[in-house]
């Protein structure tokens, strides 16, 4: 077992543990904070995959914006500090079964795939994935259209969110 594998296992364990806490903890703010730590773990996974840019963007977007938004939303929709009542619905066993089935199905399907246990080639020296990424995002031969569509989607979501959450009775 090499150092990289040990690090991966540690990170994966941390990530999965945090993820389990996200779905099981009773306190929603804690769940959101556990989500932050899961996301952080995922960012480290990206870093392990040599995707520095994605890792930093993960921190900026997910932790800096999305997780914060979650915490906000949790705070805005609670009646008191303590959570009352069950946090899990009555059919939780069915949910758990389906989730396990999903994992098992995915693992089964993947294990049948020829590239399953492939190993990666070393990155060539001086490999600059950021400029490649940037160029493919705005190159007409590559992904400029999805990129633009994503920006339009963001704008639409922005307008839609403001409209939906706007409280007309107060004004």
């Amino acid at each position: 077992m090499t150092g990289a594998q040990i690090i991966f296992l540690m990170v994966a364990a941390f990530t999965l543990l945090s993820a389990v806490m996200v779905v099981t903890t009773r306190n929603l703010v804690h769940a959101a904070l556990w989500l932050v730590s899961t996301l952080f773990g995922v960012a480290v996974v990206y870093a392990l995959l040599n995707a520095n840019f994605i890792a930093v963007v993960q921190v900026v977007v997910y932790i800096g914006a999305i997780a914060i938004l979650f915490i906000f939303a949790v705070m805005l929709t609670r009646k008191d500090m303590r959570d009352s009542g069950p946090q899990i619905n009555k059919n939780w066993w069915a949910g758990a079964l389906v989730a396990m089935l999903t994992f098992a199905g995915l693992a089964f399907l993947l294990s049948g795939w020829s590239g399953f246990s492939k190993t990666a080639a070393e990155l060539p020296a001086g490999f600059d994935s950021i400029s490649l990424l940037g160029e493919s995002l705005v190159s007409p031969e590559a992904y400029v259209l999805p990129f633009e569509v994503a920006s339009v989607l963001l704008l639409a979501a922005l307008v839609g969110a403001v409209y939906v959450a706007f409280n007309p009775s107060k004004k």
Binding site: V23, Q87, F103
Partner: protein, 103 residues
């Protein structure tokens, strides 16, 4: 070196945990948390497929994960706006109690 299968299994497990959260949590916000986990699982897959592909210069994996970021941001903003809007009208965010669409 870590084989691809480890990343894929990590992603599958994360996806399963997220799915569990989506299926069983009563609070709508917690459901959205689960969705975030699932999206992250997908992203791990995308990035690891990029890293393990034979053509590293093809950036499809990273580009798609960037687009997933955008989609996730849009999804969360609209989703949370909906949750807050529902909370204003119904005074609850428990998914089970929001069942006016039955019958």
């Amino acid at each position: 070196m870590v084989p691809l299968s480890w990343y894929l299994l990590l992603a599958a497990a994360l996806f399963g945990i997220g799915l569990f959260g989506v299926l069983v949590r009563r609070n709508a916000i917690a459901v959205l948390l689960g969705i975030e986990l699932m999206l992250n699982a997908v992203n791990i897959n995308l990035v690891s497929f990029w890293r393990y592909s034979d053509v590293l210069t093809s950036m499809s994996g990273q580009v798609f994960s960037i687009i997933v970021f955008a989609v996730a941001a849009a999804e969360v903003s609209v989703g949370l706006a909906l949750v807050i809007s529902v909370y204003r009208r119904r005074n609850t965010v428990i998914a089970d109690e929001l069942d006016m669409l039955k019958w």
